[in-house]
Subunit: 582 residues, 2 copies
């Protein structure tokens, strides 16, 4: 780890986290060409043994979807100043439909952060070329990105070859062509390990990072990205505001194996100086191009906040709780004009299409409280999101729709049903939703409940919420807690959807648990370090391994232990040895 | 707090937690007679003010259901050696259907703990008298306990008098008479503040405490009870095993304002010395009487684990994960006899009826992993639970049914549907269920997701799970985390069920949040201390009050702040003052 010293901000040195996971190896599943090498994690398990130590059965390794990139691979050389290897570059170049773009101006405000040292040459579509993954999918072409994503989604062991449940590249292509899935992969983000977001695929999660006006340095932001993907975040949104926004993003993008999303209006507002009402289309357009040329994979754009909806939202218990939504609402009211993101939608889509930036149509009027859930303002915007979705598709732009928010459980279903209908099946991407307002400090949990439910109803990606939601700035532990919480909710969804590869991990972990293979249990868990630490703190002796009872109950009362005796008894016809429990 | 020194174990001195909640007063709602004084918590709120400090509107206090007993009332005198005042005693005595019971022998094993200093004289039903709350309900009688519980459930403000949604004593009576609700209130637990458990009422939660062979002292156990009810636990199960089990329970009962549950087979097994197979009916019967005379309000009894089901369970991925279930299974197999809890069911019910102990029919064969969910063993036992329910009702015994366990989301509904049908509407009481196996260290969350779902489907009480489930012994923080997590899940259920009083708290908190009344927001939250601490840590200046933006976004980007300006604008027709944001 000490080799990977980073000094992006010029002010402090910092390592990025590179600890491999216990009992885990990075493996690479090769596709139809040598350059398609899909990184996965494989967890080695110990054999099942009898009391006397004989091996009864071997336990095969378990293959896991891996978002952590090369950082958890001890064999990978990481140098944050060089960035990750641009594995997609040959795929992009061989398509011969892009050309060098004039690099857009960087942030205009004075910059305190070190610029990324390597000059990156952005590309864009050759005039007239249709280059998005959706364009290719519609033409019947399976790109290397699609094949990569397909191999990644498919967690069935190789022995089940030919199983109709397997995810194939053709499935991915067809879903993208229909708009039911997106593969967010800006042509200027060649470092990306391609992944897919859609209702038919594994449920994805997003973590937000951001420097915020009140804290953080660039160095911390890069590590936050590495930290978030370590625990399972499938994409990362950089919600930075403030001075160093352009350079922060460059460091993150060049070192990110996952799609990066942003909300460009934040940077545009920084440039506008005088507050929301001084925003202009030109300022915003230039910001879009700047970020697209850096390689941002998806943009949140609040184009559905129409002027006529604002009075409805203003009359609510909690008004407008989306930052982007409130900025645009203030713009509309102050200028007495229609939202320029709406009026310039075609222009926006033309820019996105030239770089294959996916659009995440924001829900600026989402509910911020139980009382405001599913109200007129929220659903009026959702209808507009649907119109914008179809217009973007016409230009080949990949689309996801953002959703709420704060919604009591019984009103969640209406959201997915309407979104699916009004937005013609485009992937849904929700923030929680929180299912009660009364638990600040525990809102990762209130939102994981809503997230699990809305995921099961068909939401393709869940945006995480940390325990600090509403009350403070998330620190490192909050980010981990939020990511793991949403990962477990997403996994619960995958089980409930009956995805064939999902339950393999649960089965292996439960078998390890029942057989008191503690280390295997921890290695298979979402957060092996935390599980091990908690166990060791309660029970220092047991943590050293080999103890045949769980620390909850003690030796005499251990249900698992009695039950194991019983299983042996049921098999052998011999009485279980009651005295042997300790 | 220093006045309330406790020294129950004789070995260490300890305070119980008595900190009142911020901005909160204990109030007492009086019923039809002066002795019915229902304790509630009322939270005072500050007024809504303009920027210049003028009062725009007063915010009325919010009344909250309060499980914490006299401990959070600064006016209450607490002396753990005397126990709480026996508020139910006059109600029990005026019914003239009980007589002094011969106190059953205490635990036979050598006892290290101090005995409770005050001699408590137990009572039991006069021979032939039917004295349970169910018996009274069936005879059309509304007991003071039912009236107390009704006033407690009813969270609507007094101004809504006459509203058909109000919970009335007659509603409570009718539900208890039909078996759809229970009011667990042993006649030997006069210190109890009566409460009701049923699908039509607020969702309840239970916290487990226990000394376990490997840790804890009696002093810690009493404080654990006080701690669990402080954060919102509606009942507490004492799952202690080991030497001081009798005295531990006595200290807890005499000081508990909430129903206490136990699993009597644990103590019987202690007495049996030689392991499960040396258990006898006589030993168990005496244990039931001993605990009933102490005042335990409900017993978990694993009478549905029939011998013929055991081979099915033994063949599972995780066998039997219930302690009581595995003890009984081992007994059946070793003795080659039918479960004596099943064969002695009528005898058991006669004992329960004499003290009004509610029975919680255990689910000894609940699933312990995704793979085992809803299998033959689990549902075979559930059918038997239904038969046992109806037989108990014949004797006037109040019944709840315990349920799983580990269940993926899509299989949860089948559990509530079958339980409702097979157990004829008796209240369901579930452990979680956990919706995935792969998150040890986060199982309070995996189970809160399942808990929220199964609660919405009709489960009346949720047993909490702590973050240490499967991996260690919960400490004080784990108990708090588990209780608050389940409280928020239960509240989410109450919102989803549309209970008229439930959303008042959410509305008040969200209004406070939108108006930047931080202290009010914290005071209304489930864990005011944690919310305040997290806020203060992120943002020490703001925590001192009065800052008009949220620490998440900073002054320039605060959506709430922009939105508030907007609301003012929408009302006044004047442009919002963009420069005022800080």
């Amino acid at each position: 780890m000490s080799k990977n010293v980073v000094n992006p901000g010029g002010t402090e040195s910092q390592d990025v986290t590179r600890q491999p996971f216990p009992q885990s190896r990075k493996i690479f599943v090769e596709g139809s060409r040598p350059s398609i090498r899909v990184a996965m994690r494989e967890v080695d398990l110990t054999p099942t043994r009898s009391r006397t130590g004989e091996i009864l059965t071997e336990n095969p390794p378990v293959r896991l979807y891996d978002t952590s990139g090369p950082y958890t691979d001890p064999a990978a050389e990481i140098d944050l100043e060089k960035g990750l290897p641009p594995l997609r570059r040959p795929w992009i170049e061989e398509r011969k439909d892009t050309e060098t773009a004039g690099r857009a101006a960087a942030a205009e405000s004075p910059c305190n952060a070190a610029s990324f040292p390597r000059q990156f040459t952005p590309v864009r579509a050759i005039s007239g070329a249709r280059i998005t993954q959706m364009d290719y999918a519609r033409r019947g072409i399976i790109t290397p990105e699609m094949e990569y994503a397909a191999l990644r989604e498919d967690l069935l062991p190789p022995s089940t070859e030919g199983n109709p449940d397997r995810i194939t590249p053709e499935t991915i292509r067809a879903e993208i062509a229909a708009g039911r899935a997106v593969l967010p992969a800006n042509i200027n983000h060649p470092e990306l390990e391609p992944m897919v977001i859609g209702n038919r695929f594994l449920t994805k999660i997003n973590a937000n990072i951001g420097n915020s006006a009140l804290g953080s340095s660039i160095a911390e932001e890069v590590e936050k990205m590495v930290w978030a993907i370590r625990w399972g975040s499938d994409t990362v949104m950089d919600l930075s505001t403030g001075k160093d926004i352009h350079d922060t993003r460059e460091w993150i993008l060049r070192n990110s194996p996952v799609p990066i999303g942003t909300v460009p209006i934040y940077q545009a507002l920084e440039k506008a100086q005088g507050g929301p009402e001084s925003l202009t289309w030109e300022l915003y357009r230039d910001t879009l191009i700047e970020q697209a040329e850096q390689g941002v994979d998806y943009f949140t754009i609040h184009a559905g906040v129409l002027r006529e909806f604002i009075p409805w939202a203003a009359a609510r218990t909690t008004g407008i709780v989306s930052r982007g939504g409130s900025i645009m609402a203030q713009w509309c009211m102050a200028r007495n004009e229609e939202n320029f993101l709406f009026t310039h939608w075609d222009d926006i889509c033309d820019i996105l299409a030239a770089y294959d930036v996916t659009v995440s149509i924001g829900d600026g009027l989402r509910s911020g409280s139980m009382r405001d859930a599913n109200d007129r303002a929220q659903f009026a915007e959702l209808r507009v999101q649907g119109d914008l979705t179809r217009r973007a598709w016409e230009k080949g732009v990949q689309v996801i729709n953002e959703g709420p928010g704060h919604i009591p459980m019984h009103l969640i279903r209406e959201n997915t049903d309407r979104q699916a209908e009004w937005c013609t099946g485009a992937p849904f991407y929700t923030l929680g939703p929180l299912v009660t307002d009364i638990a600040p400090g525990y809102d990762h949990i209130t939102s994981a409940i809503g997230g699990a439910l809305i995921g099961w109803y068909g939401t393709a990606m869940l945006c995480y919420v940390t325990p600090k939601e509403h009350i403070g700035l998330p620190d490192r532990n909050d980010v981990r807690e939020g990511v793991v919480t949403f990962k477990l909710a997403a996994h619960a969804v995958d089980l409930a959807k009956g995805f064939p590869g999902a339950q393999i991990r649960d089965d292996a972990l439960s078998k390890a648990r029942f057989e008191f293979r503690w280390r295997d249990q921890f290695a298979l868990s979402l957060d092996p370090e935390k599980a091990f630490e908690m166990h060791a703190r309660s029970f220092p002796e047991a943590a050293k391994g080999g103890v045949h009872f769980c620390s909850m109950c003690g030796p005499k009362f251990c249900a698992m232990e009695i039950s194991r005796n019983l299983c042996a008894y049921a098999k052998d016809g011999a009485a279980p040895a009651g005295g042997e429990n300790a």
